[in-house]
């Protein structure tokens, strides 16, 4: 990984040397590092990072909790599925970018509208994978639990949740990468802080180095988030990995 990153930096520097681009089109790695240290120094990067991180984490929490609750209900009840499925599928045909301005109008340029946009983008993949996951519990194991007179809660805890986890985590990994996009889209539409806001500012001032810094920080955030989810998954689903060895 470090080799490929170093290779990319070398190629980038080479492009600058050979292409002789103006700094506002393509800044050099050195320019970007300098700008990075500047906004770290004056504390503004930290402030914007915290805003976006709040939006991302709250959006993820809200999206995942509502999607798993609704997903479980849909998986367990045909009636709920008939009632809700058409709306959920229809809502997915509306591009998020198109409704983001509406949410900003309704909920203001503060953090709330970004949280909602981030939650919406997380919602669908997590919901679908929850439904599929809960239904993946084998019928014979349900019969076993019934024969043992397991309570609904026991069936959920001992059978449905563990059986659903592999598929659920597939959805969560997708959601964890999308959630950053959701927050940034929201910030593009209207915000007064955040990494997406920083990109907008950088673009307006032709401060391309600033745009680069914000993009790299966003990438790092998405990678770390994905890594955390993958780490939890590996820990909880060790039984699957061991079986494949």
């Amino acid at each position: 990984m470090f080799v490929s990153m170093a290779g990319m930096l070398v190629a980038w520097q080479l492009l600058i040397v050979l292409g002789d681009f103006p700094r506002f089109i393509l800044p050099s790695p050195g320019d970007v590092l300098k700008r990075f240290l500047e906004i770290v120094g004056d504390g503004s990067l930290f402030r914007h990072l915290v805003t976006t991180l709040k939006e991302v984490l709250s959006g993820l929490a809200l999206g995942v909790s509502s999607a798993t609750t609704l997903g479980y209900l849909i998986a367990k009840s045909r009636w709920m599925e008939r009632l809700l499925a058409p709306y959920i599928v229809a809502s997915q045909s509306v591009p998020l970018v198109a409704i983001a301005p509406l949410l900003v109008i309704w909920f203001g340029p503060g953090i709330l509208s970004k949280v909602l946009i981030a939650a919406l983008i997380v919602f669908f993949p997590v919901l679908v994978n929850t439904v599929v996951g809960v239904r993946a519990a084998p019928e014979d194991l349900h019969t076993l639990m019934r024969s043992l007179q397991a309570t609904r809660w026991q069936t959920l805890r001992l059978l449905e949740i563990p059986a659903a986890l592999p598929v659920f985590f597939g959805g969560l990994r997708v959601g964890a990468t999308l959630v950053v996009i959701g927050a940034v889209v929201g910030e593009f539409v209207g915000a007064d802080s955040g990494l997406g806001f920083l990109i907008n500012v950088g673009r307006g001032l032709y401060d391309t180095s600033l745009v680069f810094v914000a993009v790299f920080v966003l990438i790092s955030m998405a990678l770390i988030l994905y890594g955390i989810v993958a780490g939890i998954e590996a820990r909880l689903l060790a039984w699957q990995r061991r079986a494949q060895d």
Partner: protein, 261 residues
């Protein structure tokens, strides 16, 4: 057998059931009546689709019959009850739980205190010969080993009734015979060790297996399933391997084969 002197543990009275097998085919049980006495081993045989598995689910209180009723110790059976162990055709283990945890499941569901769980599970692990495999996952087990775990799980809460749905159907012929012997050793012949002998109802489509294991074999007709024959098996216990090759054994197997049609 002295069972006829005691109260039956299960009474099945004029039972009829209709159900769909998911492909739109209707399968049924038609007016079935029989009793099962404590410590009796009853095998139900019949062609595929005659409703054998449905019968077992009704006896477990998991399904309600369309007509007729089931009495458990004289009381109508309306829902699953404690003291029943189920063994399914595939071992039906939870892939995310180790051998130990799978066997412990019924105790966990019945809220047995944790410090009592370990000795109970360990006893069953010893009984089915899985020492050293406690931490293995189901996917690493052979079919026979997985089915041993399933049997241990069905016995761990010391049920008085064991319901087995073609438990050895997915095993190869040799493993199948071994597992039959094991089942007898664990649940029927091992009267020592503080364990009670179990009442067993087992569904199978293997006639010789039924004759070798059971005290009584019920032969069901093709759908709708009716009882064609109710044959006591008078072979001595413990059942020794040579019994399979006696004329008595062959003759009974032959009569049952004819009854199934």
């Amino acid at each position: 057998m002295s069972s006829s002197k005691t109260e039956p543990i299960l009474q099945i009275q004029n039972l009829s059931a209709v159900f769909s097998d998911g492909n739109g085919d209707l399968q049924a049980l038609d007016d079935i009546s029989f009793s099962v006495h404590p410590e009796e081993f009853v095998c139900v045989i019949g062609p595929s689709g005659c409703g054998k598995s449905t019968l077992l689910r009704i006896l477990g209180g998991l399904l309600q019959p369309v007509q007729g009723r089931v009495l458990f110790r004289g009381e109508p059976l309306l829902e699953p009850r404690r003291g029943v162990g189920f063994v399914f055709q595939n071992s039906n283990l939870m892939p995310w739980r180790s051998v130990f945890e799978n066997i412990a499941l019924p105790l966990e569901v019945q809220n047995v205190p944790v410090n009592q769980v370990r000795p109970l599970v360990q006893e069953l692990i010893d009984l089915v010969g899985l020492q050293g495999f406690e931490n293995w996952l189901p996917r690493d087990l052979s079919g026979g080993m997985a089915q041993r775990v399933a049997i241990a799980r069905a016995l761990v809460h010391d049920p008085d009734l064991l319901l087995l749905d073609e438990p050895f159907g997915a095993l190869d012929a040799l493993t199948r015979e071994t597992m039959g012997d094991e089942l007898l050793r664990i649940a029927v012949d091992s009267s020592g060790g503080g364990r009670r002998r179990k009442t067993i109802v087992m569904v199978t489509h293997a006639i010789t297996e039924a004759v070798f294991l059971a005290d009584r074999v019920l032969a069901l007709s093709p759908r709708p399933g009716r009882i064609r024959m109710d044959a006591p098996v008078s072979l001595p216990r413990p059942r020794e391997e040579y019994l399979r090759y006696t004329p008595e054994f062959g003759e009974l197997a032959h009569r049952l084969r004819e009854a199934i049609g």
